[in-house]
C-alpha cells in the first residue's frame, strides 16, 4: 500500500456537464419582460464566472493558484470505506463516503467559493456579497474572500442566524460580516419586514438581499448553488472520487447524496453521468421539491431580480418549515440536475428530519464523524438502500457534504 500524492488525485480541470446532457438546457429567462436580468449578471458577477456560466466547453482549466488553495484547505478530501457502518447494517457490499467535511470550512462549499473569490480578486473587486442558509456557504465565502484579500458580507437566513450562533463566530473569525435576513439593509429586506417583522427568512429572500446589496454598492455577488458555474466547480468532488476509486480498484454501483440547491450532489455525481452508475438524490420531506414541485421556469430569488431558470421548484415564495438542515430548505434545484431527474437518469428520495437524525446518530456511533444535518439525509437513504436485500453486494458511494460539529445544538440532552 502506498500513499497517493494529493496532486495525482486533484483534477486540473473542472467538468461542465452541459455538452453531455441528453437534452438542451433551457436558457435563463427574464422575469420582467421590460428588463434584461441576464444583462444584470454583467454587473454582479465576475466576468470569468459569467463566461463559465454560458460556456460550451466540456472542461475548464483550474488556475494554478486555485489548485494551490485547494491543497491548502484540505483537498483532495478522503474517500473512506465505512466498514463499521457496513457491519452494523449487515450489508454484504461496500459503502464508501467522500468526506467533504474534511475541508477547512467543513463542507463542500469551499470548492466554488475559492475560484469565485479568486476571479473577483483578479478583476480588482474589493468586496463580495452573498447569502447563506445553514451557514456553510457563508463560512466558505468568508474564508475564500480572506484568502484572496477581499472583504465579504453575508446575509444569513434569520432562522439559521438564531439557531447557529457558532456559524456567525466562525464567519467573523474568518473576517466576514453577517446580517440576519430579512434585514433593514436593503429595500427588499425592509419590504419583507414591513409585512412580517418576525419573518424567519428564506434562502430566496437572502439571495434577493445579497444581489440588491451588491448592485447598490458595486460589489460582486458570489453564487452558492443552483447556477451552472457552481456545479462545474463542484465537479472536483466527483472527479476526485473517480480517481480514488480507480486507485483502490473499485467502481461505484450507486451514488447517493443530498440535495438543497443541488451543487454537492451534482458535483459528486455528474462526472459519472456517462457510466451506468445508479444515482439517487435525497431531498428533505419537508421541502418536497421532487415529489410535489413542478418542473418549470421559476425565480431563483424571491424578489425576481435574477433570471428565471427551468427547474424542479416548489415556487419561489415557498416558505419551508424551520427544519434544522437549512441547506435543504431551498425551493428549487439546479437546472441540469432537474433535467436529469425529469429524464429518469437520476432517482430521488425524500427523507424526514426525524429519520435523518436517526441516521446522524448511527453514522456518528459507527464512523465517529458527526455528519451535517443535510448530509444525514443522504446517510438515511444509504441505510435504507443497504437494508434492501436486492442491493446486497453492491458498492455504494455517498457524498458526506459536510460535518455537523457546528450543528450540535440540534442534539437533545
Amino acid at each position: 500500500m502506498y500513499k497517493i500524492a494529493d496532486e495525482e488525485i486533484i483534477p486540473r480541470r473542472w467538468y461542465n456537464i452541459v455538452p453531455d446532457l441528453p437534452e438542451p438546457l433551457s436558457p435563463p429567462r427574464d422575469h420582467d419582460p421590460e428588463k434584461s436580468s441576464i444583462d444584470l449578471l454583467n454587473k454582479i458577477l465576475p466576468k470569468e464566472i459569467l463566461r463559465q456560466e454560458f460556456t460550451s466547453s466540456r472542461y475548464e482549466d483550474i488556475p494554478d493558484e486555485v489548485i494551490e488553495q485547494y491543497l491548502q484547505i484540505g483537498r483532495p478530501t478522503p474517500l473512506v470505506r465505512a466498514v463499521n457502518l457496513e457491519r452494523i447494517l449487515g450489508f454484504r457490499g461496500k459503502i464508501f463516503f467522500k468526506n467533504e467535511g474534511a475541508t477547512a470550512t467543513g463542507s463542500h462549499k469551499i470548492n466554488t467559493a475559492l475560484p469565485q473569490a479568486y476571479y473577483a480578486r483578479k478583476e480588482g473587486v474589493e468586496e463580495v456579497v452573498t447569502e447563506t442558509g445553514a451557514g456553510q456557504w457563508g463560512t466558505a465565502t468568508a474564508l475564500a474572500a480572506t484568502l484572496n484579500n477581499i472583504r465579504s458580507t453575508i446575509f444569513m437566513v434569520r432562522v439559521s442566524y438564531e439557531q447557529k450562533p457558532l456559524r456567525k463566530k466562525i464567519i467573523k473569525l474568518y473576517g466576514g460580516n453577517t446580517y440576519a435576513s430579512p434585514s433593514n439593509l436593503t429595500e427588499y429586506g425592509r419590504k419583507v419586514l414591513a409585512k412580517d417583522p418576525g419573518h424567519p427568512g428564506t434562502l430566496g429572500i437572502a439571495i434577493s438581499e445579497a444581489v440588491q446589496y451588491a448592485l447598490e454598492k458595486g460589489y460582486k455577488y458570489m453564487m452558492g448553488s443552483v447556477e451552472n458555474t457552481v456545479i462545474t466547480h463542484q465537479s472536483i468532488i466527483g472527479q476526485e472520487t473517480r480517481r480514488q476509486l480507480e486507485f483502490m480498484g473499485e467502481s461505484a454501483d450507486t451514488l447517493i447524496g443530498c440535495v438543497g440547491g443541488g451543487s454537492n450532489f451534482s458535483g459528486f455525481s455528474f462526472p459519472f453521468v456517462e457510466s451506468e452508475t445508479e444515482m439517487i438524490a435525497t431531498a428533505a420531506s419537508e421541502v418536497p421539491k421532487f415529489s410535489k414541485g413542478d418542473y418549470k421556469y421559476d425565480l431563483i430569488d424571491t424578489a425576481g431580480i435574477m433570471p428565471e431558470l427551468k427547474m424542479f421548484s416548489l415556487g419561489s415564495d415557498f416558505v419551508p418549515p424551520s427544519i434544522y438542515a437549512g441547506g435543504l430548505r431551498y425551493h428549487g434545484a439546479a437546472p441540469a440536475l432537474s433535467l436529469l431527474i425529469r429524464e429518469g437518469r437520476i432517482k430521488t428520495e425524500e427523507v424526514t428530519e426525524e429519520k435523518s437524525m436517526e441516521a446522524m446518530g448511527i453514522f456518528a456511533r459507527t464512523q465517529g464523524i458527526v455528519p451535517a444535518p443535510e448530509s444525514s439525509h443522504a446517510i438515511a437513504t444509504v441505510i435504507d438502500y443497504c437494508k434492501n436485500p436486492e442491493n446486497q453486494g453492491k458498492t455504494v458511494v455517498f457524498n458526506l457534504s459536510g460535518h455537523g460539529l457546528l450543528d450540535l445544538s440540534i442534539i437533545r440532552d
Binding site: 441528453p22 433551457s26 436558457p27 444583462d39 459569467l50 454560458f54
Partner: protein, 244 residues
C-alpha cells in the same frame, strides 16, 4: 462571409416597415429573416421583445406576402423566425402558408428547449412542405443533439452567440466557433444574438464563422425613424462582413 438581417414584421408599423425594408434593399445582404410577432418571445432580449408588441398590432398577412415576394425578386433568401409555441396548434396550415408565400425555411428558437420530443416531427413536416428547418443551437446545446439535428437537416445553421438577443455577456468566440465547426464541419454556420459592432464581426470572421445575423442593433434607428442612422448601421455591417 454572409449577412442576414432580421426584422420583426412589421415593426414599428406597416408604413415605416416598408420604408426601412426598401432602404435595406439598397444594401448587400444574403438572407432576410422576418420575425413573426408572438405574445411572449421569451428567448429574445428586451429590445426585440418590445418590437413584437407593435408588430403584432400591425400584422398583415398580405403585406408579409408582398415583402417576401419583393425580397426574393431582389435575390434574397427569406426565412422566418417563429416560436413553435405560436404555430404548433395549426402547424400544417401555417407551414403551407409559409411555403406559398415563398419562405425558404424557418428558425424556431424554442423547438429544442421547450418541444424537444417533437423536433424531428417538425423537421419532417417542414420537409414535406419543401421548407428547411434552420437548426438553432447555442452554447447550451449538447454535442449529441447538435449531431442528431444536423444529420436530419441540410440548410445552414443558426448559432446563438449569447444567451439571448441584444445582450452581451463574456463569451469565448473562438472556442464557440471551433466547437460548432468541429461538430458540423460541412455546414454553413451563421452567428446571431448580441452582434453589434465591428469588433465582434471581426472576431467572428477571424474565428472562421460563415456569417452573422443582426437584428437588435437595427431597432433603435427604426424606433426613432432615423433612416440615415439605419443606413449607417447596415453599411458598417456590410463593411465588416464583405470587406477585406
Amino acid at each position: 462571409m454572409k449577412l442576414a438581417l432580421y426584422f420583426t414584421f412589421p415593426y414599428p408599423n406597416r408604413e415605416s416597415f416598408i420604408r426601412f425594408f426598401h432602404g435595406s434593399l439598397n444594401h448587400k445582404y444574403d438572407y432576410l429573416e422576418l420575425g413573426i410577432p408572438t405574445e411572449f418571445p421569451y428567448y429574445d432580449g428586451p429590445i426585440i421583445r418590445k418590437t413584437h408588441k407593435s408588430a403584432g398590432e400591425n400584422y398583415s398577412e398580405n403585406l408579409l406576402r408582398e415583402t417576401v415576394k419583393e425580397a426574393i425578386s431582389k435575390k434574397r433568401k427569406v426565412y422566418t423566425l417563429v416560436y413553435y409555441n405560436h404555430f404548433k396548434k395549426d402547424r400544417k396550415d401555417f407551414l403551407q402558408n409559409l411555403k406559398s408565400m415563398g419562405f425558404s425555411g424557418a428558425i424556431v428558437p424554442d423547438l429544442l428547449t421547450d418541444f424537444f420530443p417533437e423536433r424531428f416531427e417538425l423537421v419532417d413536416a417542414m420537409n414535406e412542405e419543401g421548407l428547411s428547418l434552420i437548426p438553432f443551437f447555442t452554447s447550451s446545446t449538447p454535442d449529441k443533439i447538435i449531431r442528431d439535428v444536423t444529420g436530419r437537416t441540410d440548410d445552414w445553421i443558426y448559432h446563438g452567440l449569447q444567451p439571448s438577443t441584444g445582450i452581451r455577456v463574456p463569451v469565448s468566440t473562438d472556442l464557440m466557433v471551433n466547437r460548432i465547426r468541429s461538430l458540423c464541419p460541412e455546414r454553413e454556420i451563421i452567428f446571431g444574438f448580441g452582434i453589434n459592432g465591428p469588433e465582434i464581426i471581426h472576431e467572428l470572421k477571424a474565428s472562421g464563422a460563415d456569417g452573422i445575423a443582426v437584428g437588435s442593433s437595427l431597432i433603435p434607428s427604426m424606433e426613432t425613424d432615423d433612416m440615415d442612422s439605419f443606413h449607417r448601421e447596415i453599411h458598417m455591417l456590410e463593411e465588416g462582413v464583405y470587406g477585406e
